[in-house]
C-alpha cells in the first residue's frame, strides 16, 4: 500500500533564524545577532542536507522553503550554495518550487536578482500593512512606499510572488480594511496571505495585552465580519481562499505549504525547525534546538542538529491530518483519516455541525464551510476524540 505521506508529497524547510529587529507580534524563532559567521552556517546547513539526504534517499523533492527569521538577510551566495547541494542530493520534481521569505526594505531588494539566479522561483514578502502608522506600531522597519518599490522589483524578478498582510489590527475599522484590501488586490499577482493579528504569549504584544495596554483590538463580531468580507472580496477578485488565511489564483497555491496541510513529509533544517518524516515506514517527528549557536555547535560536534526523533502514534497522525486538512477549502479524505485513526470521525458531531452550516460532508470527504473555517478551532475541539 502507498505510504500515507505520498498523499501530500515531500518538501524541505530551511530555517534562517536571524532578523534585523524583532517584531512585537512575532512568536517565531528569530534572533537579532551582531555578527554571523556565514562560512560556519553554510557548512552546518550543508552537513544537515547531507544527513537528511541519506535518510530520504531517492525521494523526489517537490519544494524548498527558506523561512525565518528573515531569510532575505542571507547572502545570495549562501542561498546558491545550499540550493546547489539540494539539487545534487535529491531528484527534484520538474516544477520544483523554491520559495524564500523576504522583507521589503531596499537593502534586501538589492539581493533579489542573486536569489533568482540561485534558483529561487517564488518570493513571499512580509508587507503586513499598507499604512505607515500601523507599520510602525507593528515594529516594521519599512514604509508603505518602500514596500511597494521592493514588491515591484520582486514582481519583475521572480516567476511567482506573494505577500503577507496582517489585519484586524488595533483600531482598524471594517471600512478601512476593505479599502486596504482593495488596494492590496491591485498589487497582488497570484497569491497572498491575509492573517488576522493574533496576540501570542511570549511576545511584546502578549505582555502588553496581559497588562491591559493593547487597546482597540476588534471584538469577536468585528473580527468575524472582517474575515467574511475578506473571503468575499478576494473570491470576487479571482483569488479565493484555498486555506484559512491563504488566497491564490487556482493553480498558484503555495505547493510547499500544501505539503503541510495535506500532511505530507517535510524535513526541517536549521535552529528550531520541526519535521515530519516517514522513515522505514514510521512517521517520525523531528526537532532541533531553538538557540542558533546551540544548533550550530551540535551540527559541528555531532554531525546532527536533531534533538528529537520520535514516532508519531497513528492516532496523533490522524489528529494532525485533521487539524491541517480542515484548514483547506478542499477538506480531508475521510477514508485516509479513518485508516490513520483506526476509526471514523464522530458521525453525530459531524451531523450536528453540518446542521449548523459549519461542515459540508460528502461521501469520502469532509470540508469546513466558509463559516466553519472561521470557527475551525471549536470544530476541531468537538471532533478530537
Amino acid at each position: 500500500m502507498m505510504e500515507d505521506w505520498r498523499h501530500g508529497g515531500f518538501g524541505l524547510y530551511l530555517h534562517w533564524p536571524f532578523c534585523a529587529a524583532k517584531c512585537p507580534y512575532c512568536d517565531f524563532n528569530s534572533h537579532v545577532a551582531a555578527e554571523i559567521d556565514i562560512t560556519r552556517w553554510n557548512r552546518a546547513y550543508l552537513s544537515e542536507i547531507d544527513r537528511i539526504g541519506e535518510l530520504t534517499k531517492g525521494r523526489v523533492l517537490n519544494t524548498v522553503f527558506f523561512g525565518g527569521g528573515t531569510p532575505s538577510l542571507m547572502p545570495a551566495e549562501l542561498v546558491a550554495s545550499l540550493l546547489d547541494q539540494i539539487r545534487a542530493t535529491w531528484p527534484t520534481a520538474n516544477d520544483l518550487e523554491i520559495t524564500l521569505e523576504a522583507n521589503p526594505t531596499s537593502a534586501e531588494a538589492g539581493r533579489f536578482r542573486g536569489y533568482a539566479d540561485a534558483g529561487v522561483n517564488r518570493l513571499s514578502m512580509g508587507i503586513q500593512a499598507l499604512n505607515d502608522d500601523d507599520l510602525r506600531r507593528l515594529g516594521r522597519l519599512h514604509s508603505v512606499a518602500e514596500a511597494e518599490r521592493a514588491f515591484g522589483i520582486a514582481r519583475d524578478t521572480f516567476e511567482r510572488v506573494s505577500f503577507d498582510l496582517i489585519y484586524a489590527r488595533q483600531g482598524q475599522t471594517l471600512a478601512e480594511w476593505r479599502a486596504e484590501l482593495t488596494r492590496a488586490l491591485h498589487m497582488a499577482v497570484d497569491h497572498f496571505s491575509l492573517y488576522q493579528l493574533t496576540i501570542e504569549d511570549g511576545t511584546a504584544f502578549g505582555a502588553r495585552h496581559a497588562a491591559g495596554k493593547l487597546r482597540g483590538l476588534p471584538s469577536e463580531d468585528l473580527s468575524a465580519d472582517m474575515y467574511l468580507i475578506t473571503q468575499d472580496i478576494c473570491e470576487a477578485a479571482g483569488l479565493p481562499a484555498y486555506e484559512v488565511s491563504n488566497h491564490a489564483r487556482p493553480g498558484m497555491e503555495s505547493r510547499h505549504n500544501l505539503i503541510y496541510w495535506r500532511y505530507g513529509d517535510y524535513a526541517g533544517i536549521g535552529p528550531g525547525a520541526h519535521g515530519r518524516l516517514t522513515l522505514n515506514g514510521i512517521k517520525t517527528a523531528t526537532d532541533t534546538p531553538k538557540a542558533p549557536l546551540r544548533w550550530l555547535e551540535m551540527v559541528e560536534t555531532h554531525r546532527s542538529g536533531e534533538v528529537l526523533a520520535e514516532p508519531v502514534p497513528t492516532q496523533d497522525q490522524a489528529l494532525e491530518y485533521l487539524m491541517f486538512g480542515l484548514r483547506l477549502r478542499e477538506g480531508i479524505d475521510t477514508g485516509r483519516y479513518a485508516r490513520l485513526a483506526g476509526q471514523a470521525l464522530d458521525a453525530d458531531a459531524i451531523h450536528e455541525m453540518a446542521d449548523l452550516g459549519l461542515l459540508d460532508p460528502s461521501p469520502g470527504q469532509l470540508r469546513a464551510t466558509r463559516e466553519g473555517r472561521a470557527v475551525l478551532d471549536a470544530i476541531l475541539r468537538r471532533l478530537f476524540p
Binding site: 524547510y13 469577536e220 484559512v244 488565511s245 519535521g275 489528529l319 494532525e320 491541517f324 463559516e371 470544530i379
Partner: protein, 602 residues
C-alpha cells in the same frame, strides 16, 4: 502551681468596638504593658490565631487572656479579658461571652464616632448589666475630635461619656489609665467559694494536640484537676485531665475559684459534645439549679458547596466533617444537584461565616469548590397545615400544595454620613425594606429598616459599601418571619432548567431580577457553535429572555508545519479544560457563573 485568686482582686471584662477602631491593638497593648507576654513573643493581633483573622483584621473566635496587673493601690489584680468578634455573623458568640464578664471597655475611634456594629454589641453589654468604660482611641490622629465623639456616644448610646479615657493604642498613650479604670471602675465578680461548683461553659474548640478544650467561667465553688464533673444539659460526666489559664498560652493551674476564667480538657471527643451555655458542676455534689443557658446559634444562610472535580467529593466530605468538629454553628447535609453532582447543603450564621468556612476548606484542605447562590430558610405553610423549612429553592414543591410562604426578616441598623443618606434609603427601598426609624447624631444619620434577610444575604453589604464609598456601617438582628408573595424563579439555559441557578424571589421583583440574571449569564457563558436562549421563568411562564449569539470567530490564523505538535497539544488541552466546565445538555457553564449571575450591579 498558682492557686486561685480572691474575688476582690479579679476583674473580668470584654472590649466592644467597631472593626478598625483598634480593639485588637488595645488588647495587644494591655498584654504588652503588663508583661503578660515576653516582648520577643509579641506579635500583632495577639489574640487572633487563625490566618483568616489576621489577614482580614477580624476576630472570629472569642479568645481570652489573663493579665496580672500591679495597681497603684499596691495590690496585684487578675484581669481576664475576653476578646469577642465584632461581626454581626458572630453576634451569638458575643452575647455568651458577655455573660461571663462584669464589664466592658467601649472603644470608639475619636475621629469616626459610634458605628452600627458598636451599637449592637454595646446593647448586648448593657443587657448583660455591664459597667461600661468608654475609651476614645486614636486620639493622636489630626482628625480626632474627642469632644464631638463624647457627645456622639451620649446621643447615640445614651451613656455618660464624661469620664471617657483618651488613648492611642498605637503609641501606648493612656494605656496605664485604662488599666487603672478597669480596677477602679469595674465591679469584682460575685460568688460563693464554699457553694457547690457552678461554672458556665463559655466556649469550646478543638486543639489537634489536646483534643476538645473547654473555656469556663466559675460562678460558685472550686474546680480542680482530677475532679469528676458533669455537664448539666447533656448529662455527660468527665474527669478533668488538665486545668489551665490562658496568658494567652496555656499555663497549668491547680484550681479555679469563683469569678475566675480558665480552660480544661477532659478527653472529650468532639466540640459537638459540648454545649455552649451549659452548666458544669461536680458529679458527686451538684449545684441545685443550672444557669439560664443560651439558645444555640441557628444557621440562617444556606448554600451548596460542590467540588469542581467530582472526584474530590470524598475529600470534601472529610474536610467538612473535620471543620464541623470545631464549629458547631455550621450545619451540613449531602445534596445532589442535577447540574453539579454530589455536594453538601451547608448552613451558616451569615455571609462572613460562609466565606470563612469556604476559605478554610479551600485553603486548609486544598479543594476547589463551586458555591451556589446563598439562600435563607423559607417557611412553607402547606395546605394540609404542615409547616416545612425550605433550605434550597430547588426543593420547592408544586405550588398547588402550598398555602403561603414566609420569609425571615431582619432589623437592620445603618449609620451613614448624611451626604449618602439618599443612596442608602434607595438601596433599602430597592431591597423591599420598610423604614422604621431615622435619626441624626451630628452629621451622621442612623436609619433602622425592616428588611427581608433574603435581600441582604447576597450582596447588600457590598452594595452599601459601594454607594457610601465605605462610610456606612451596618448591623442586623433577625426579627422574625413574615408572609410575602414569594415565588421560585427558574433559569433555563438552551431550554434546560439549571437547578443550581433557581432562586426564591418576591413576585413583584421577579421580572427585574430575572432580566438582570439572564443578562449577566449572557456575559458569563462563553459563545457556543449554536445560539443559546437563556430564560428566567416562573412555573411555565417565561418572564425574561436573552439569546447568546453563536460563536463566529475562533480559528488560528497561522498554522504551518512547525506548529503541528504545539497546536495539537493546545487543542487537546482546551478540550480537556472544557470537560471541567459544567455541562447542561449541550451547553457548558463556567463555575463562577453560579455566583456571579446573582450579583446585582445597580
Amino acid at each position: 502551681m498558682p492557686r486561685m485568686t480572691q474575688l476582690d482582686l479579679i476583674r473580668n471584662f470584654s472590649i466592644v468596638a467597631h472593626i478598625d477602631h483598634g480593639k485588637s491593638t488595645l488588647a495587644d497593648r494591655l498584654i504588652q504593658m503588663t508583661g503578660t507576654v515576653a516582648e520577643r513573643d509579641m506579635k500583632a493581633q495577639m489574640l487572633d490565631s487563625m490566618d483568616i483573622e489576621r489577614e482580614r483584621g477580624i476576630t472570629i473566635k472569642a479568645n481570652t487572656v489573663r493579665i496580672e496587673y500591679p495597681a497603684k493601690d499596691g495590690q496585684t489584680y487578675v484581669l481576664n479579658l475576653i476578646d469577642t468578634p465584632g461581626h454581626v455573623d458572630f453576634a451569638y458568640e458575643v452575647s455568651r461571652s458577655m455573660r461571663a464578664v462584669e464589664g466592658s471597655l467601649l472603644v470608639v475611634d475619636a475621629s469616626q464616632g459610634v458605628e452600627a456594629q458598636t451599637l449592637a454589641n454595646v446593647y448586648q453589654a448593657i443587657d448583660a448589666n455591664h459597667e461600661i468604660v468608654p475609651v476614645l482611641n486614636k486620639i493622636d490622629l489630626p482628625a480626632a475630635d474627642p469632644a464631638a465623639v463624647k457627645e456622639n456616644i451620649e446621643d447615640v448610646i445614651g451613656i455618660d461619656a464624661s469620664d471617657a479615657i483618651p488613648i492611642s493604642a498605637k503609641t501606648g498613650l493612656g494605656i496605664p489609665d485604662v488599666l487603672e479604670a478597669i480596677v477602679k471602675r469595674l465591679p469584682p465578680p460575685k460568688g460563693e467559694r464554699d457553694a457547690p461548683l457552678k461554672a458556665m461553659l463559655v466556649d469550646s474548640w478543638y486543639d489537634s494536640y489536646l483534643g476538645v478544650v473547654v473555656m469556663i467561667r466559675v460562678m460558685d465553688g472550686v474546680i480542680r484537676k482530677g475532679d469528676r464533673i458533669k455537664m448539666m444539659q447533656t448529662g455527660a460526666v468527665y474527669g478533668i485531665d488538665k486545668l489551665a489559664v490562658l496568658k494567652p498560652k496555656m499555663i497549668d493551674i491547680a484550681e479555679l475559684g469563683p469569678g475566675e476564667i480558665g480552660v480544661f480538657t477532659a478527653s472529650i471527643k468532639q466540640v459537638r459534645d459540648t454545649r455552649v451555655g451549659d452548666t458544669i458542676t461536680h458529679e458527686k455534689k451538684p449545684c441545685a439549679t443550672p444557669l439560664a443557658g443560651f439558645k444555640p446559634a441557628q444557621p440562617v444562610v444556606f448554600c451548596g458547596l460542590f467540588p469542581v472535580d467530582a472526584n474530590d467529593f470524598e475529600a470534601l466530605r472529610d474536610a467538612i466533617e473535620k471543620l464541623a468538629l470545631n464549629d458547631a454553628s455550621f450545619s451540613y447535609e449531602m445534596e445532589t444537584s442535577a447540574a453539579l453532582g454530589f455536594g453538601f447543603r451547608c448552613g451558616f450564621l451569615g455571609l462572613l461565616h460562609l466565606e470563612v468556612v469556604r476559605d478554610r476548606l479551600e485553603r486548609e484542605y486544598d479543594l476547589d469548590l463551586i458555591t451556589t447562590a446563598p439562600s435563607v430558610v423559607f417557611k412553607l405553610h402547606m395546605k394540609d397545615g404542615e409547616v416545612r423549612d425550605l433550605h434550597n429553592p430547588a426543593d420547592m414543591p408544586d405550588l398547588t400544595y402550598v398555602d403561603h410562604i414566609e420569609e425571615p426578616r431582619i432589623k437592620a441598623t445603618i449609620m451613614v454620613p448624611d451626604d449618602y443618606l439618599g443612596d442608602v434609603l434607595k438601596l433599602c427601598q430597592d431591597r423591599r425594606g420598610i423604614q422604621m426609624d431615622l435619626t441624626y447624631a451630628g452629621s451622621r444619620a442612623m436609619v433602622v429598616y425592616d428588611l427581608p434577610l433574603a435581600e441582604v444575604v447576597f450582596d447588600f453589604y457590598d452594595r452599601l459599601k459601594s454607594v457610601t464609598k465605605g462610610y456606612a456601617s451596618f448591623d442586623y438582628q433577625i426579627s422574625g418571619y413574615r408572609e410575602d408573595y414569594l415565588v421560585k424563579m427558574s433559569i433555563l439555559v438552551n431550554d434546560e432548567p439549571v437547578d443550581a441557578l433557581s432562586i426564591m424571589v418576591h413576585r413583584e421583583r421577579a421580572e427585574s431580577r430575572g432580566r438582570a440574571m439572564v443578562e449577566k449569564l449572557k456575559e458569563l457563558i462563553p459563545r457556543h457553535m449554536f445560539k443559546i436562549p437563556i430564560q428566567a421563568a416562573i412555573g411555565g411562564r417565561v418572564i425574561a429572555r436573552e439569546t447568546l449569539s453563536a460563536m463566529r470567530k475562533d480559528v488560528t490564523a497561522k498554522c504551518y508545519g512547525g506548529d503541528a505538535t504545539r497546536k495539537k497539544k493546545l487543542l487537546e488541552k482546551q478540550k480537556a479544560g472544557k470537560k471541567k466546565m459544567r455541562q447542561f445538555g449541550k451547553v457548558e457553564i463556567p463555575q463562577q457563573a453560579f455566583i456571579s449571575a446573582l450579583k446585582m450591579d445597580n
